[in-house]
Each structure stands twice: as structure tokens, then as C-alpha cells.
Subunit: 277 residues, 2 copies
DNA sequence: CGCCGGTTTGAGTCCATTCAAGAGGAGTGG
DNA sequence: CCACTCCTCTTGAATGGACTCAAACCGGCG
């Protein structure tokens, strides 16, 4: 419960401060939130479609994903989450969850009562705004996924997904080397991209043959990041990341970011983020 | 610039109050927001992908849509908006817009500086929360669209889109009769559902032949609402509407839509989650 | 009237699916 | 250690849904 070891919630502060500047008082309030740690095996449903008033979670370690089920048994994966992500802001403010949230790998999480977060948001406008922006970013990602699923070829969709997850891992400080963890099965890649597992397999083979990536037991290596980005029509803007390392920027984004007269809020956020590290 | 007729912003209050209860003071503050009215012809870009710091709008009349462009010229429509909707919460808090916002029909709108809304949100937690929830609802709709585009047949996708727009019009008090306005061309339906215009045409013909709907010059008639819902795998939950009239509710909304599915490790879930409670 | 945007229609093609069946690996229990 | 199961990945052949590329049709409008 609420205790004196605040370090567990540090990622929460880091996350939110990356969205809206937070003063020391606000940081402290966040760190003092009541919470409970837990760990779940693969496949655990954290929230199930139709459940009432779920609380929400900070993902401390491992991977999770959101999904929806169709009447005919079809499943669509809506997003993937990794260490440091806030889970289920989406559901927690509604009376009933409209999608599932499931552990993709064994996970560690901190469970935080929704009530206490809302109270904090009422008390500190900066926290409220950070939560709001976090939700807006989530929406932006959803939109890019729509684009991906609706208007790209199988090859592009899969390359795009690999780009997104790889970059997000990089930003979360996971897997600094040439290898990145890959938590999804081919079937799950299919569910995320609107394809079948079989066709994912074939497309993956083609990508490998072209030297764009190699997958081995739950690992990906990407020899040529720029090439994979191009193959996936990937531009990282939509993730609204605080600061993408130069070697992983795409020419398009770099071009725009280098324009000096850029907006002030982004830069403020950036410096804030740097301070945390 | 800002004028003295506050009635124009009444839909804004109505919208937000539907998300979170607002006191008289908060309502008054909203109505006193500085704003400027404008009207735009069909096709006007209100915001263009890559634009910086757009302000935001209240749609007073007409239809608008959001879209994204791929590098190869592909276009994905991300959502459709109608009278009373808040436009571009999505973009306005970021440095740069990540998608387009365009007039689908001639529209009337009230333009509100983002700054003043944010100030209001800082001042009144209830307003901040309402805006947040509005954003969450938007995310919920995006998720359903992902499901639609990724995991449904052409027939289902199109039927679903018709259901959504029809119901939202009903809720906004437009078109009380058996006819509803239909602002989208077949090409645009394709862009919204991840199909081509040609195939939309053929699918539409099939739907008409089955007596599920008829389209005439910018009008739709739906003889059997339940049948169209079934054809589109449509459940209105995801829209998070305040109150859906009984004749338009679907039978499925009542009882839990718990898909049995694989749920292999579902057993672990219950014990664990019980512990959390 | 002629233009123009939207709808309709046709024929051929291709991308992705379906339905199998087999292979590889990891974990389990005897 | 093996046999066993389960899960994931792989491969093949046949099918089909949606796409492409036209061209024609239609109504509204200047």
C-alpha cells in the first residue's frame, strides 16, 4: 500500500513530467500515491471487456497489450505497452471497460486506485494536464495504427510495427545493443496489423531475405534502421517522444526538427526530461 | 474577435457537462471564452498535418473529418465529426499537428484559442476532467475503428460506419425521421474503412439488395436498424453516449459480451485479481 | 450545352486468406 | 533420458475477396 519506498513510482513521475512540467510538490504527491505491487504470468487479463470500473496500473516490467474481440471471434490488438507505460487510463474513467488488457509476457506492475489519481488531478492542474496529454498521445498512436492497418501493405504494416516497438524500447532504455526484445508471436503480429498469422510468416521471411531484419527467439536485430523505416513508411512524430536519438531519426523528422523556430512547449518538455535522467 | 453572443458556445457546455458535472460558475466561464465564428466551404483544411500549434474549434454546423496521408499518397480517414463536436483537441496541445482536419461539407464553426481553454482547465478541475474524458472517448472510438478496419469484412465495415454516423446524428438531434444525412462519398467511405471506392460501391449495392439500407442523394434510410447493427457487428458502447434511445439499442449491449475465446491462462487471472482487490 | 464530380459496371489480376499438414522447441512428467 | 504435449513457426495448394484499370453513365451546374 502507500509506503515510504517511493522509488517504484519514479517511472510515473518521469512519464508525466515528460508531458507537462511538474514542480517538486507535484512530484512528491505522485510518489506518495497509494499503490500495490504485483506480478502476473503470461496471459493474465488485467482488465476484461465489459468489466466495471477498473483501476489502473503502472507497468514496471514486461509487456502488455490491449485488444478487442469481435462477435465472430476475431481479435484486434490495439496497442502494446512496455516498461514505464501507464496502463488503462483508457478504461479507468469509464464505468465499464471497452477493451481487454492482457499480459503479453510475465509482468511486474504497480496498482494504483483510480480515485487517488483523480483527486490528485483535481488538486494539481499540472498533473491533470500531464494525464490529459498522455491520453492525447495515446490517441495519436491509435490514429497511426488506423493508417497502418487500413492503408498499408502487409510488408509496410509489419515493418512499421517493428519500428514502433523498437524505437519505444530504445526510448525506455531497454536493449541498448543491436538486439531488441520481441514479445509478440507471429499470430499476435497478425492481430495487431489486421493480417493472418500465416501471411505474417511469409512477409517476415521476405523482410529477412531483404536484410531488413532478423528474428530469433524473442529477439530482433535491425541492421539498417533507415531502410526498415522506409519499408514501413515510419515517421516517429506520432509517438510524441520527448527526444529521439539522432541515429534513429528519420530524414523527414530530422528535417523538421532542425527548423529552429520550433514551438516552445516541446523544448521545455525536452529540457525537463533531460533533467530527470 | 470575441463578441458578446454567448449562446454560440452553448453546445460546448452541453458537451462537456455530459462528461463531467459542471457548476454554474464553470458553465459561465466556458460561455465567456473568447471565440470567433467562421464558415468554410467544402474541402477547407482547418488544420494540415505538420502545421504548428493549431487552435481548436467547436463545430456549429456541418460535417468535418480527420485524415492522414501516407508517403505513397494513400489516405486514411480517422474519424468524422458533426454538429456539436469539439474539433482538434487532438492536435491543439501538441507543437505540431499529426493529422489533417478538413471540412466535409460547408461548415460553421467557432474558433477558440487553445491558450484560453488551458487556462480554464487549470482554474477549474471539473473542466479539465471533462476535457480529459472527452479525449478518452475519442480514443475509444479510434479503437473501435481499428477493430473495424482490421478485423471485419467490407460488408461489416461499411454497415458499422453507417450505424455509427446514424446513431451519432440521432443523438445530436439531426434528422429525426427515417432519413439521415450522409455526408460521405463512396470514395471517402473507402478511405474511412480501408477499402477502395469501387469495392465500396459493390458492397453498398449488396447491402441495398438485402434491404438493409438505401442511399439517395446525400441521404440514407435504414428500414431495419437491428438488422444493420447485426450486419455491422455494431454495439454502441464504444461511443460512450449519455443515453441511447431504447429503439436504437442493440440486444447485446445489455448482457456482458464475454467472448469465450482461447482464454487459456484465464484461470490464473481470477485468483490473482481477487488478491488485488 | 458541355463540363465535372460522383456513381456504376466489367474483366483481369493479385494479395491475402483458408485449410491443411509437418517441423522445430520448450516444458513436463514418467 | 525419453515420450509426450503444447505452442509456435513453416510450408503448400487452392480459393477468394478486394484491387486495378478502364470506360461509361448520370445528375447538377455554370
Amino acid at each position: 500500500m502507500s509506503d515510504i519506498t517511493p522509488s517504484v513510482l519514479a517511472p510515473l513521475v518521469r512519464k508525466l513530467a515528460g508531458r507537462s512540467p511538474l514542480g517538486p510538490e507535484e512530484r512528491k504527491a505522485l510518489l506518495c500515491l497509494p499503490h500495490r505491487e504485483a506480478s502476473c504470468p503470461v496471459g493474465t487479463y488485467l482488465v476484461r471487456e465489459g468489466d466495471k470500473a477498473p483501476d489502473f496500473f503502472l507497468l514496471l516490467d514486461g509487456y502488455a497489450y490491449r485488444s478487442k474481440n469481435g462477435r465472430n471471434g476475431a481479435r484486434q490488438i490495439l496497442g502494446v505497452h512496455l516498461r514505464g507505460d501507464l496502463l488503462d487510463l483508457q478504461n479507468s474513467l469509464f464505468d465499464r471497460a471497452d477493451h481487454n488488457l492482457q499480459a503479453l509476457t510475465p509482468i511486474e506492475l504497480a496498482y494504483i486506485p483510480t480515485r487517488s489519481i483523480i483527486d490528485l488531478a483535481d488538486l494539481y492542474p499540472a498533473i491533470a494536464r500531464a494525464l490529459w496529454i498522455e491520453t492525447l498521445v495515446d490517441g495519436s498512436v491509435s490514429r497511426e495504427w488506423m493508417m497502418n492497418i487500413g492503408r498499408r501493405t502487409a510488408r509496410q504494416r509489419i515493418a512499421h510495427l517493428f519500428c514502433e516497438l523498437t524505437l519505444r524500447q530504445k526510448m525506455a532504455g531497454i536493449g541498448g545493443g543491436p538486439d531488441y526484445a520481441w514479445p509478440l508471436t507471429q499470430e499476435q503480429i497478425g492481430d495487431a496489423t489486421g493480417l493472418t498469422g500465416v501471411h505474417v510468416n511469409r512477409t517476415l521471411q521476405a523482410l529477412r531475405e531483404n536484410g531488413l531484419m532478423t528474428t530469433g527467439r524473442r529477439l530482433v536485430t535491425i541492421p539498417d534502421w533507415a531502410a526498415l523505416q522506409a519499408a514501413g513508411d515510419f515517421r516517429s512524430d506520432y509517438l510524441h517522444l520527448p527526444a529521439v536519438p539522432p541515429e534513429m531519426q528519420d530524414p523527414f523528422t530530422a528535417h523538421h526538427a532542425s527548423a529552429p523556430a520550433a514551438a516552445t512547449t516541446g523544448l521545455a518538455r525536452l529540457s525537463h526530461f533531460a533533467r530527470l535522467q
